[in-house]
């Protein structure tokens, strides 16, 4: 590498980001860096395109990697989990009379690229009326430690070492490279296995009745 501490730190944080995404990938639906946040449910009355809450659309928190779940309170007292739906699952219009087919007793949420849509929308503002859970992006390292398992922090050192090998391939002979990549692969497998199997899984098969006529 070029010896610049600033550049090494930037590379380290890039590698850290890749490791964070790798954890999400191997853990599939399990939650690595779950974050909870509240935001206001706004009244759609008088809103125009571009306003937060217009058409029931709310911006994700800036550190959102993957939205997980949302609960809505239309009265500030009771909470209802919002069922996740897909745009094409709604047989009614998504921009005209958007509340058709929806009811506050059974709210829905649609996750999109940088925002989410609450259905039904509300004409009453509720402070902190939206509770959302999401996988958050890691915080860049400066002097502190990565947020994942401490026993696996050395994977980042290997990630940086690989960058160095790519930048200065002539400095390292084949024997050294072979040994390095073998060790890195071992560590890679250890990393993936740990996060894949950290929590036990409980599978369920729900059967449908069959009628012999």
């Amino acid at each position: 590498m070029d010896g610049s501490a600033t550049n090494v730190l930037a590379d380290l944080n890039t590698a850290y980001g890749h490791r964070t995404l790798q954890i999400l990938k191997v853990r599939q639906d399990l939650n690595h860096a779950i974050q909870e946040a509240y935001t206001d449910l706004v009244s759609t009355t008088g809103l125009v395109a571009g306003d937060n809450g217009y058409n029931g659309e709310y911006a994700f928190a800036s550190d959102t990697l993957r939205p997980i779940r949302a609960e809505i309170s239309y009265d500030g007292l009771t909470w209802k989990p919002a069922e996740v739906y897909d745009l094409n699952e709604n047989p009614n219009s998504e921009f005209d009379d958007v509340n058709d087919g929806f009811d506050t007793s059974r709210p829905f949420v649609r996750f999109e690229r940088d925002s989410y849509f609450i259905r039904p929308t509300s004409t009453t503002a509720v402070t902190s009326g939206i509770h959302i859970w999401y996988e958050k992006r890691q915080t860049d390292l400066t002097t502190d430690s990565p947020a994942f398992e401490a026993n696996l922090h050395d994977t980042l050192a290997y990630d940086l070492a690989e960058l160095e090998v790519m930048m200065h391939p002539d400095r390292y002979d084949k024997k050294w490279k072979d040994a390095f990549y073998k060790k890195k692969e071992e560590l890679e497998n250890m990393f993936n296995d740990f996060f894949k199997n950290r929590f036990k899984r409980n599978f369920r098969l729900k059967s449908k009745s069959e009628n012999y006529k």
């Binding site: 899984r201 409980n202 599978f203 729900k206 449908k208 006529k213």
Partner: protein, 135 residues
């Protein structure tokens, strides 16, 4: 929700008193190979090893008829692994009391899974409509 898949010989076996679903021991078999509808007995199924798995015996909740419709209700079964189990995809119901372990029906989980130590696989049978009805 997993659809119940029929083994065709089951209806003949019912008619020829191979099964007494009210008192026989029903058991689940696990396999990673798709069963064929013509399969009739347990030896037709390529089972996985059950070395690290809890009991596969299913408790019969009720076996009775109402207004001429027979209904078989089974108690949910939780299979717990004490080590590696699988992979498997299909869950087969068979009659362990019947002479040749005759098959009843099977469910497709949709993809192959493996259980690690202490992981569970719950068979959530329909407690209202039953596993099967005969009208």
């Amino acid at each position: 929700m997993a659809i119940y898949n029929k083994f065709q010989p089951f209806v003949e076996a019912i008619a020829e008193k191979v099964h007494n679903l009210g008192s026989d021991q029903i058991v689940v078999a696990l396999t990673n190979s798709a069963p064929a509808v013509a399969n009739s007995v347990l030896t037709d199924i390529t089972e996985i090893s059950y070395t690290n798995l809890s009991t596969r015996n299913v408790t019969t909740t009720s076996s009775s008829q109402t207004s001429g419709t027979y209904k078989l209700i089974l108690t949910d079964l939780v299979l717990t692994a004490s080590g590696a189990v699988g992979p498997f995809r299909y869950v087969v119901l068979y009659n362990d009391t019947a002479t040749n372990d005759e098959l009843i029906g099977y469910f497709d989980y949709g993809s192959s899974i493996s259980l690690a130590n202490q992981e569970t696989f719950t068979l959530d049978f329909d407690g209202t409509n039953g596993v099967l009805t005969i009208a």
